[in-house]
C-alpha cells in the first residue's frame, strides 16, 4: 500500500510538479522572443497555406468530385507542412537541452540534489515537447479552414494531430538521447537531425506506398477494407492526414491505427529516455537494468511482429504456389525454404546491432565514467552494465529475439520452424559474438572508450562492406555474380542467394566465426588483465 502511494507521489512529482519543466517554461515565455517566433511561424504557415490552396484549386475541373479531391490535397498539404514543422522544430529544441547544461556545468548542481535521471529527462522532454504542441495548436485555425472548405473532417484533423504529436514525441526523445550523449551542442544538433532524417525517410517510404495505393489504385488499401493498412504507415509526419483513417484488423475488430501510433511513440520514447538516463547515472543506477529489461522485451515483441509479418507473407506465397502447381510441385515453397527465409530475415533483423555492438563490447574510460574490465563473462553482471555482463546480455537478446521470431512465424501459419532456421540463428549469434570479440580486442589496445567505439564501428563496416566491390568485380561476367567461387569465402555469403543450399555454408561460417571469437576473447582478456596489472604497478610506484 505504501509502495503504491510512494509510486503515485513520485509519478505526480515527475509529470506534474517537475521543477525542470517549470523553470524552462518560465524562461521560454520570458520577453517577446517566443511571441515573435510563433508570430513568424504563423505568418509562414498562412503564406504557405495560401500558396497551397491556390495551387490545389487552380487546376480543378468543373466536377464536384474533382473539387473535393483538390480540397483534400490542400488539407493534406497543410498537414504535411505541419509535419515538416514538427520534424524541424522538435529535434532542434531538445538537441541542446542537456548538452547546454553540461557545458554550463549546471548538471552537477541538479544531480547533487535528490533528482533521478528520469525526473530530469522527463522535465526536459516536456519543456521541448510543449513547443511541438504549441505549433499544432497555433496551426489549428489554418487547419480548420480546410475542414470548413470540405477537404477533411474534424475526425481526420484530430487523428492527424494525434499522429503528429506521437511523431513529435519520438523525435524529441531521439534528440534528447543525442543531447545526453554528445559533448558539444553542435554535434548534438547534427546527430539529432541526422537521426530525424533517417526516421523521416524510413517512415515516409513505408507510408507513401500506402498513400499512393489509395490515391492512384482506386479505393483499395492493403486489405479488403479501403482503410485497412499496417499500423506503421501512420509513422510518417508528412502523410498524417492520408493515414488518419487507416485501421488495422485485429481479431476481427477494426482498430484505428493512431492508437498503435500513440502506443509505439510512448514505448519508443520510453526506451530512448531510459538510454539517455543511463548516460547520466552510475553503473549501479536503476536506469541500466531498466533499459536492459525493456530492450529484451521490445526485442522479443519486435521479433515476434517481424516473425508474424514474414511468416504471413511466406505462408501466403506457399499457398499460392501450391494451388498454382495443383498441390504437387516443383514450384512449391518447402518447409525448409520457409525456415531458411525466416533465418535470413532474422539475420537481417539483427543488423540493427551495428548501432549498439560498440557500446556493448568496448571498455575503457570516458571522462569520469569508467567501464573497466571485470572479467569476460559474468551472468551476475548482466543488469549492471559492467563489461563482464555485456556478452551474456548480447546472447540473451539474440536468443529471445530468435524465439520471438520463431513463435511469430509459427502463429502466422508457417508452423514449427525447422532446424534450418536455428542454423541461421546460430550463424547470426556467432557473427555478433565475433564482432563483440573484436570490440574487446580493440579496447584492450586503447584506454579511451570513445576511440575504441569508433574503431569497432569502422572495423565492422570495413570487414562487411570492403570485400563487396572486389567480389562483384570478379564475378561481373557471370550470369549470377554471387556464383563465383570467391563469394564462397565471403563470410556473409550464407545470406545471399535464394534457396536453402546456403545452409551448409552458414553452418560452416558459424563454426569458424565462433572459433575466431573464442580466440579473440581469450587474447583480449589476457591483454586486459596485463593492462590492469601494469596500471596497479604504476600506481604503486607512484
Amino acid at each position: 500500500m505504501f509502495a503504491v502511494g510512494g509510486w503515485l507521489d513520485e509519478t505526480k512529482r515527475v509529470y506534474f510538479q517537475n521543477a525542470t519543466s517549470v523553470r524552462d517554461y518560465r524562461v521560454q515565455l520570458r520577453g517577446s522572443r517566443s511571441v515573435i517566433l510563433f508570430g513568424l511561424y504563423l505568418f509562414i504557415l498562412i503564406g504557405a497555406a495560401f500558396f497551397a490552396y491556390d495551387s490545389s484549386t487552380r487546376y480543378a475541373g468543373g466536377s464536384i468530385v474533382d473539387a473535393q479531391r483538390q480540397l483534400h490535397t490542400f488539407a493534406a498539404t497543410v498537414m504535411g507542412m505541419l509535419g515538416g514543422a514538427i520534424a524541424l522544430v522538435a529535434p532542434g529544441l531538445s538537441a541542446t537541452a542537456v548538452v547546454l547544461e553540461k557545458q554550463r556545468q549546471s548538471l552537477d548542481l541538479v544531480f547533487s540534489g535528490p533528482v533521478t535521471p528520469k525526473y530530469y529527462l522527463v522535465g526536459k522532454m516536456m519543456s521541448s515537447y510543449r513547443y511541438s504542441w504549441m505549433l499544432l495548436v497555433l496551426a489549428l485555425p489554418i487547419v480548420a479552414a480546410s475542414v470548413v472548405l470540405g477537404g477533411a473532417s474534424w475526425y481526420d484533423v484530430l487523428t492527424a494531430f494525434i499522429q503528429l504529436s506521437a511523431q513529435g514525441l519520438i523525435l524529441t526523445a531521439i534528440a534528447l538521447l543525442m543531447s545526453t550523449m554528445a559533448v558539444r551542442p553542435v554535434s548534438a544538433i547534427i546527430w539529432s537531425y541526422a537521426a530525424t532524417i533517417v526516421y523521416c525517410i524510413a517512415s515516409s517510404l513505408i507510408s507513401v506506398s500506402y498513400v499512393f495505393s489509395r490515391t492512384f489504385g482506386g479505393m483499395s488499401g492493403i486489405g479488403s477494407n479501403a482503410n485497412e493498412a499496417p499500423w506503421y504507415v501512420t509513422m510518417s509526419p508528412f502523410t498524417a492526414l492520408d493515414t488518419s483513417r487507416s485501421v488495422t484488423v485485429a481479431w476481427g475488430v477494426h482498430v484505428p491505427n493512431w492508437i498503435f501510433a500513440v502506443l509505439f511513440a510512448l514505448a519508443t520514447s520510453k526506451i530512448f529516455v531510459l538510454a539517455a538516463g543511463t548516460q547520466l547515472s552510475f553503473t549501479g543506477g536503476r536506469e541500466i537494468p531498466s533499459l536492459r529489461i525493456h530492450s529484451l522485451l521490445y526485442g522479443f515483441l519486435l521479433s515476434y511482429a517481424i516473425g508474424c509479418a514474414v511468416g504471413g507473407s511466406v505462408s501466403a506465397i506457399h499457398s499460392v504456389t501450391r494451388s498454382a502447381a495443383f498441390g504437387s510441385t516443383p514450384m512449391a515453397v518447402t518447409a525448409s525454404d520457409t525456415s531458411s527465409i525466416l533465418g535470413r530475415a532474422f539475420c537481417g533483423m539483427t543488423s540493427v546491432l551495428v548501432l549498439f555492438i560498440a557500446y556493448l563490447s568496448c571498455f575503457g574510460y570516458d571522462r569520469e565514467h569508467r567501464y573497466w574490465p571485470n572479467g569476460l563473462v559474468s551472468w551476475k553482471s548482466i543488469w549492471n552494465g559492467t563489461p563482464a555482463g555485456n556478452l551474456p546480455f548480447l546472447l540473451m537478446t539474440l536468443l529471445l529475439a530468435s524465439l520471438g521470431m520463431g513463435i511469430g512465424a509459427g502463429v502466422s501459419g508457417v508452423g514449427v520452424v525447422s532446424g534450418f532456421y536455428w542454423i541461421y540463428v546460430g550463424y547470426a549469434i556467432s557473427f555478433w559474438v565475433l564482432m563483440f570479440a573484436i570490440g574487446r580486442m580493440v579496447s584492450s589496445f586503447f584506454g579511451g572508450l570513445r576511440n575504441s567505439r569508433v574503431l569497432v564501428f569502422v572495423v565492422l563496416i570495413a570487414i562487411t562492406s570492403l570485400p563487396l566491390p572486389f567480389l562483384t568485380a570478379v564475378g561481373r561476367n557471370s550470369e549470377d555474380p554471387t556464383n563465383s567461387m570467391l563469394w564462397n569465402f565471403y563470410f556473409l555469403s550464407p545470406l545471399l542467394g535464394d534457396d536453402a543450399t546456403r545452409v551448409p555454408s552458414a553452418l560452416m561460417f558459424a563454426a569458424l566465426m565462433t572459433g575466431a571469437a573464442v580466440v579473440l576473447l581469450f587474447l583480449s582478456e589476457l591483454r586486459a588483465r596485463s593492462k590492469m596489472v601494469q596500471a596497479q604497478k604504476y600506481d604503486e610506484q607512484a
Binding site: 523553470r23 552537477d108 547533487s112 553503473t283 569508467r370 600506481d539 607512484a542
Partner: protein, 309 residues
C-alpha cells in the same frame, strides 16, 4: 556525523584518491587543503554522490553514498568551484527551482527563500536576474541554493576563489555562522590563512593521500612539538646562543649570521622572561624577542612536496 571510510577513486591508470578516511561531527568546519590536482575535488564529488567511488564509502548520518545516494543528497548542499547559473532566471526563481527539487513543501517555499536570502544578504536582489549579480553575489546565491533544504553537510569547493577581500570576509563570516548552526562544513581552499581563521579541523591531501588530519592546533603541534623563541642580537649571536644552551628550560639553540638566535624551549612564561633577562644581564644587545609559532602554511609546506597526480 560524517564518516569517510577508505575512499578511493581510480581513473584508468591514475589513482586520484588513495583510500582516505576521516570523521566529522556536527559543528565541525573542516578545511581541506591541497595543491591543484591533489584529490580535493574528487573527494568532495564522491561524498556528494556525483562520482562513484572505486572502493570505500562515506556515510552521512547513517546513509551510505553508495547504497543510498538519494538519502545522502537530501542531507547535503554542494557548492562546486564554478557557479553553473542559469540565464534568464531571477534570483527567487533560481532558489524556487532548487527548493522544488529538494521537495521543500509548496507552502513553506516562499518563507525558506526569504530566509536564505536574508542569511546570505541578498534580499534586495530577490527580483534581479542571476546574470546581473556581481561575482560575490553569485557566490552567495550559490550558497543560498545549498541552504534551501537545511542540509546537515555543506561541501564548499573553493568558495572564496575570485572574490574581492570584502566578499571574502563576508563569506568567511557566513561559513562560521553555518558551523555555529550545527552543520558540518567541508571547505576546500588554497588560501591557508583564511582557513585557519574559521576551520576547527583541517586535512592536508597530496597525490590522493591524506597526510594530516585533525584540529589546527594539534597538527601544528605535531610538526612543532616545542615552542620556539627568536631573539635578534646586535653582535655576538654565537656567544648568546652558547650561553642560552646552558639554561635548563632550553632544549636547543641555534644562530644565524644575521644575528638571529632560535631557541627551542620547554619552559613556562616565567622561564621565558628569564631568558630575556639573562641575555640583557650578560650584555647582549637584544633588538627583538618573540615567539615563533608555526601556522597552517608552515605545516602545509613541511608536509607536502608539491607533487601532483
Amino acid at each position: 556525523m560524517l564518516e569517510v571510510k577508505n575512499l578511493r577513486k581510480e581513473y584508468g591508470g591514475l589513482t586520484a584518491v588513495k583510500g582516505i578516511s576521516f570523521n566529522l561531527n556536527p559543528g565541525d568546519i573542516f578545511g581541506f587543503i591541497g595543491s591543484n590536482g591533489a584529490g580535493k575535488t574528487t573527494t568532495i564529488r564522491m561524498i556528494s554522490t556525483l562520482l562513484e567511488p572505486t572502493s570505500g564509502t562515506a556515510i552521512l548520518n547513517g546513509a551510505d553514498v553508495r547504497k543510498d545516494p538519494m538519502a545522502v543528497r537530501r542531507m547535503i548542499g554542494y557548492m562546486p568551484d564554478f557557479f553553473g547559473l542559469y540565464d534568464d532566471v531571477k534570483v527567487w526563481e533560481y532558489l524556487d527551482f532548487f527548493a522544488t527539487i529538494y521537495k521543500v513543501p509548496v507552502k513553506e517555499r516562499a518563507t525558506v527563500i526569504d530566509s536564505v536570502l536574508e542569511l546570505t544578504n541578498l534580499t534586495v536582489k530577490k527580483q534581479a536576474f542571476v546574470q546581473s549579480l556581481s561575482r560575490g553575489m553569485q557566490q552567495r546565491l550559490c550558497l543560498a541554493r545549498c541552504l534551501v533544504h537545511d542540509p546537515s553537510l555543506l561541501l564548499l569547493d573553493e568558495p572564496a576563489s575570485g572574490l574581492d577581500p570584502r566578499a571574502r570576509a563576508e563569506l568567511k563570516e557566513l561559513i562560521a555562522e553555518l558551523g555555529r548552526m550545527g552543520k558540518i562544513v567541508i571547505v576546500s581552499s588554497h588560501i591557508l590563512p583564511e582557513l585557519a581563521d574559521f576551520c576547527n579541523t583541517v586535512g592536508i591531501i597530496e597525490r590522493g593521500e591524506l597526510l594530516a588530519f585533525g584540529p589546527v592546533d594539534k597538527i601544528v603541534q605535531e610538526i612543532q612539538p616545542h615552542r620556539v623563541l627568536v631573539a635578534n642580537i646586535l653582535e655576538k649571536a654565537d656567544e648568546a646562543s652558547h650561553v642560552l644552551s646552558g639554561l635548563p628550560s632550553v632544549l636547543n639553540s641555534a644562530y644565524t649570521d644575521d644575528g638571529e638566535v632560535r631557541i627551542e624551549f620547554a619552559g613556562d612564561f616565567a622561564a621565558q622572561a628569564q631568558i630575556l633577562t639573562k641575555l640583557v644581564q650578560d650584555g647582549f644587545q637584544v633588538t627583538a624577542f618573540r615567539e615563533d609559532s608555526a601556522d597552517l602554511e608552515d605545516v602545509f609546506l613541511r608536509l607536502t612536496t608539491g607533487a601532483v597526480n
